[in-house]
Assembly symmetry: C2
Homo-oligomer: 460 residues x 2
């Protein structure tokens, strides 16, 4: 399964695809012509949201089920239970033994996977349109009828612990990422690792799983996204015939989670490990997400990240890779598609064993320069253009489209938010980009992580 | 009210008093003679624990009620609700209007106060023995009959917010302490400030208060400690006549809280403020408490703190205040009386605006010296003796005795633990002291706080 923890390595990819595809699909002239195939949305009587994204370029359909339950919805001490379901959902149900669903997908040449994030857990299949109803039948079945016995849970827990060992504990960069999230977020549950902490995974049991499943795996807490060679009527018919049979689950309270106190200090988190060869740093700040932002701040943060550090045309890349040749990597990113306040990051790695302190100071200076002088109209226009250009490359991605709608809706957004997004990006002014840099990128509350070769206990 | 957040300024005092009084009362020859007046304990039918500590030196009695509910028992997002009750309990009940209890205590020349910690909230009165039953009547009444209306809660919330403003937000040292706790504990609820975060205090309401009160303020979640000029029979009679009338509350699950994951990084937390004149640092590690420790580690940590940094005979004081004259303060402390894993700290402040880096390096070196060479038999014997000597000074403190029993029992200890404690301290070997230093004081997972004058953004 894809383990979609929103760390640097995976989440920004999702965010990137999301953003570029939004403009691709909604803002591009090529699509303006086909506006009859608009995205539509309806809700079943049991509360299930269904989104249909017609895409008739190929006889294929991407069927996704998004549960509004991620690691940030876990109870204290139960980290990892959301991700546990990314595994458990592939075990048997009352009606179908383990493996049957996967065999059915494989038999028709389909693909199937799942991923977990702080805010959601999602499952999907890519199949021929004729198989859509069958996929819905399987997904509807495992939405309510999962077999949660010790025989299922105990061995799968071992698998997950091994997954954690491989992906996190054996990876200094991932370990530092966990420590950084725990230091950055003092109160919000984004501080907990999506995969869970080992000592808590080790204790997750049938009681925990049953409680989480009964609460969150229900039609009124899910969003089905269907992208592909189907019509809204076909989707509605199949959805009614499958998901429509499920009873509504318990009414859940609004997803209001603990929020951050005022931060008063700057922090560093340093991890030294013999497997590290090039010293690197990451500097994080808490900023609004698309869901919590007001007045276009999220759009401005997206463009700030783009201008400052996304790609080879960015200020950081030009300064430290092209001109000064002191960084092997350098950049910035913004995780906008989150339910709660999220993070903005800059990062850099040296080209040799020394020079991290200078690189960090240089990156700091570039941030201060934007805070002082802002960005130019020209680079802002080009940054907006780069979004569009990147889309052309990503155009073919039906799955990315489905992800965009699913992740937006699962983090408090609406279809209208997606539709309006290109205009809102276009409306961002240079002053707004400068303003969010000034407002949020405060060195006195930054949290900086250092990944160093072993033996180099210091931050230099 | 006393706000007993276990920060450096208050908690170590409690811990210190606790430890020295334990030996005073139980280990000193003077008391061995009076062994007939042994500490006794009984439980009422409704689950209330009662501890009686006879002390007939003066016609006075200290009556304390300890609730096993502190800030670490709060639900996520509800920080401050435990401490809120330190205030609310002085408001009116169904039977007595606000102020009546206080007036009754004042009328007999008594004293009254309360304090909140991570693990408990306690209320006490010091009165003539003849007033004990009256005090019990009032305490039993407010244990179950508190009036929790908006008229009570809303104005008191403003008082608490003002208390926080004065004690924490206007105090850089307290703010740094909060940031440090949040950085040190990644998962355990000791990471939350006892007084609560302002934005969460501001939202605490009647629903929150009623839920917390109904759950935790009940005889089966409380310990009554009576120290003073009374007999166990008198206490039992009065307790039965007052507390004994209360119905048992709901059965609470064991106090099992989230625990720490393995830590992989060292962290720094830096706060710069114009009100700071002398730069200082604090370095923290998570270590076992008396409740979580095995094999005498807590006792060894107590002696390690004593030898390393408690008082003017300690290694740190001798090295940096007496010999090198580079520190205005320097020391070490261990917060042993906690339900869950707790912290061990070293700290130091310079004598002028510079030199913090050197002082910290020097303190680090003293720790490494103990880890390498251990402590001498002579200094260990002297350290044990200093515990005893300090007791003689503290001997007169009836309230301290009551606090010792209350805090120990409210953090998972027993009367036997207190009684055995002097022997266990005496049994600690130099090897054990060295062993806990090696095991726990790892520079690669230390969390260091820096309090600096404004404008000095760095740690030097």
């Amino acid at each position: 399964m894809i383990f979609a923890q929103p760390s640097r390595s995976t989440f920004p990819f999702v965010a990137f695809v999301s953003l570029v595809l939004a403009v691709l699909f909604l803002g591009m002239p090529a699509f303006a012509a086909g506006k009859t195939a608009a995205v539509s949305e309806f809700t079943l009587a049991n509360g299930l949201d269904v989104v249909v994204i017609p895409d008739h370029r190929a006889p294929i359909v991407t069927h996704m089920v998004w549960y509004k339950a991620g690691s940030a919805d876990e109870a204290p001490g139960k980290s990892g239970i959301a991700h546990f379901f990314e595994h458990l959902m592939f075990k048997g149900t009352k009606n179908h033994p383990a493996g049957e669903f996967e065999a059915a997908v494989a038999a028709i040449g389909g693909q199937q996977n799942a991923f977990t994030s702080n805010d959601y857990t999602a499952f999907y299949e890519k199949v021929p349109p004729s198989a859509l109803e069958e996929m819905m039948r399987y997904e509807a079945d495992r939405m309510r009828n999962l077999t949660l016995t010790d025989q299922v849970i105990v061995p799968e827990r071992k698998v997950i612990m091994e997954e954690r060992r491989m992906r996190v504990d054996n990876n200094p960069n991932a370990l530092l990422g966990e420590e950084l999230d725990a230091a950055l977020f003092e109160n919000q549950p984004y501080r907990f690792p999506v995969i869970g902490w080992m000592h808590e995974i080790a204790k997750l049991n049938r009681t925990d799983a049953t409680a989480f499943y009964n609460r969150y795996y229900a039609p009124n807490n899910a969003i089905v996204v269907v992208a592909g060679d189907v019509t809204p009527d076909e989707v509605r018919r199949d959805a009614e015939a499958t998901y429509g049979k499920l009873a509504r689950g318990e009414d859940l309270p609004p997803r209001v989670r603990p929020t951050e106190p005022v931060h008063h200090a700057k922090k560093t988190v340093t991890l030294s490990d013999p497997r590290v060869t090039l010293p690197s740093f990451r500097k994080l700040w808490i900023v609004p997400s698309y869901h919590t932002a007001r007045n276009g701040e999220a759009e401005a943060l997206d463009l700030l990240a783009e201008i400052l550090g996304d790609g080879t045309r960015s200020r950081l890349y030009q300064a430290f890779v092209v001109k000064k040749d002191v960084a092997s990597s350098v950049g910035a990113y913004y995780q906008g598609t989150m339910l709660d306040d999220t993070k903005f990051a800059v990062y850099g790695a040296t080209i040799g064993p020394t020079g991290l302190h200078d690189l960090e100071k240089g990156v700091d200076a570039e941030i201060e320069r934007i805070k002082k002088d802002g960005v130019t109209a020209d680079e802002l226009a080009k940054a907006k253009k780069r979004f569009v250009r990147a889309m052309i490359f990503a155009r073919d991605n039906q799955e990315g489209m489905a992800r965009l709608y699913g992740s937006t809706l699962a983090t408090g957004g609406t279809i209208k938010d997606i539709e309006d997004w290109p205009e809102r990006i276009d409306a961002v002014t240079a002053d707004q980009v400068k303003a969010v840099a000034v407002k949020y990128l405060d060195p006195d509350t930054a949290v900086t992580g250092y990944l160093l070769p072993a033996g180099k206990g210091d931050q230099q």
